[in-house]
Symmetry: C2
Subunit: 345 residues, 2 copies
DNA sequence: GTGAAAGCGCTAACAA
DNA sequence: TTGTTAGCGCTTTCAC
């Protein structure tokens, strides 16, 4: 690899005929003013020498890392970035960070893994802040969160909240409200036997959606019937078999609210295979609004999650001088979800 | 935030009654030997003080960043991490890196964006190596690659290759061979009118799949018929309309090879809507083997891409002392894809 | 096997 | 407005 001599601030200073301090001032546009003349000479020297400041030296001195850590906590290593949720959030988050000249450092953290290495990173001074993505609700995440909070970095938790005792800023979305809206929509259409395709209950999001469903049923004066809840582990083929089971019931459902679009599509496939038409025989609502949703026949009615907004808010909370360490924890951000009415219900 | 006094190596040294040099030796398990007694004293002091070494000071001194950069080059900022390709690759890549105590720093690089900030990062000394993910073929990427190579870091390009002049290590998969295998499979089944649902031709992968398709047709002695190629921009609803168009042809196809599973699913939906059965009336093969593929009715025959293996290989090339900077560029790694026969063809 | 000390390249306090 | 210089916390050379 190229072994060209390392160009340092000192070289630039010499060439421009100024001190290293001035080079620093020009580079950082402060903290002290510089004359136009000097600025130009320094800039030219930087150009000519193709100088690039050393990030470690800068970080060591200034205690600013220009880096945010992303802790992705999920059930196993090969799932940490696996969901389309994360892709969408990361796109928005990294874009927002880059605008402010910050980078994102990925830290996959499979549930159950030794936390020591993460602790080392958090204490290494290499991070200005942390975004934590968890899939469980407290108290399951208390250990992890306690460690992160103890590291003393500005932190934001996204998707699920942490125990309030930690005073962590959070950006979540309203799972239960989404499930509630979906179910109410079905009730509003006159359905009385409404099934729920349940997600993997290890995921808090699945629990919340189940809860929203029950709530809406109760409010609608409908009976809660366990046999109408098809348990899955987010697995589409389970949705297929559960749907088939529902169809066998003595009093089968006329509508299905699925905890994810994947599950909804599974139900749709099953219904189609069984010769039922959607939404005439059975109505379907999904959750997530994945790109595929609008492409199905019929296009899927579903609940849209503002994923990009989650990423943007997380960035803002960490970078905004107003939202960051300075101010006390503001009220948790809970983003609204949106019912997207299409053809399936 | 907690303003506890910063614990440094010096504090540990004092408490353990040794010099800072020895603390360093213990911490790094070298480069010079230490006595068992000393090692224990130092370890205890580290524990008691809850000491964590400063990453920047370490990096500044040792010139090892323990960080790999990931440059994600795609058409717009909100797509850089958007594909399921990247999710799967990142899962494997970050897991492999972490095993060797390395982190991944994300750098989204929308096509057409100013390269200066990236150059700054590459020259900042904060990275030990770079993984570059591109979606175009040379010479479109020459500018970007030239800059990365000039930075002098060990680098690996994944998914698409770079111009050979750069001597960059690469981990790609065989798009054309996959398309070829898919098409040949259809020919082998007796199909003579085989359509191709083309992807977004701005993406090299779409071009390569198209090329593999043409190649197989030619080898099979079949005529190349432009009217059998349905152009899309990876957009499933375009696959729907193009399929409908194909059905209107005087001599319609009996099989469709789609450049992605998404497109294949679109074709499947369209066929279903038009009352044709798959694979009896029209056979379908996709590309990617997304999780959904096996859940469709009928399950999709498709081409599987070894995404996790791409991530693992990239990590190995960067971290292995044998594969990294030391050795000359080895032959490019081109991973084989696999035809997964299921129900749709 | 260990200690002392010289920097790595930068920022910012102190002087001017 | 600018120069001088003391570190930031660590690794590693030189000395013992």
């Amino acid at each position: 690899m190229s072994e060209r001599k390392r160009i340092t601030q000192r070289d630039v200073a010499e060439r421009a005929g100024v001190s290293t301090a001035v080079v620093s001032y020009v580079l950082n546009n402060g903290p002290r003013p510089t004359s136009l003349d000097v600025r130009e000479r320094v800039s030219r020297a930087i150009q000519e020498l193709d100088y690039h400041p050393n990030g470690f030296a800068r970080g060591l001195r200034s205690r600013r890392a220009h880096t945010i850590g992303f802790v992705a906590n999920d059930y196993n290593a090969l799932d940490c970035f696996g969901s389309h949720y994360l892709s969408a959030i990361l796109d928005a988050l990294t874009a927002a960070l880059k605008q402010q000249d910050n980078y994102l450092l990925m830290y996959p953290m499979p549930i159950g893994e030794d936390p020591e290495p993460l602790k080392r990173l958090l204490r290494s001074g290499r991070l200005d802040g942390v975004v934590v993505r968890v899939v469980q609700d407290p108290p399951a995440t208390d250990g992890l969160i306690a460690m992160i909070v103890k590291a003393g970095l500005p932190s934001v938790i996204i998707e699920r909240p942490a125990s309030t005792q930690f005073g962590l800023r959070s950006v979540t979305y309203d799972d239960a409200a989404g499930a509630h809206a979906a179910t109410r929509h079905l009730i509003g259409q006159g359905h009385r036997r409404i099934a729920h395709m349940v997600g993997d209950l290890r995921y808090a999001t699945a629990q919340a959606r189940l809860e929203g469903y029950r709530q809406a049923l109760t409010e609608g004066g409908l009976e809660i019937d366990e046999s109408l809840m098809g348990r899955t582990t987010w697995n589409m083929s389970q949705a297929v078999s559960e749907t088939l089971r529902l169809l066998e019931l003595r009093d089968p459902p006329t509508a299905i609210f699925a905890a994810s679009d994947d599950l909804a599509i599974g139900a749709l496939e099953a219904l189609r295979a069984a010769g039922r038409s959607v939404p005439e025989d059975v109505a379907i609502i999904g959750f997530d609004d994945i790109p595929l949703a609008q492409e199905m026949t019929p296009p899927l009615t579903t609940i849209r999650i503002p994923l990009a907004e989650i990423g943007r808010r997380a960035a803002a909370l960490l970078l905004d001088p107003i939202g960051a360490a300075n101010t006390p924890v503001t009220t948790p951000v809970v983003l609204p979800v949106e019912l997207i009415k299409r053809g399936s219900a």
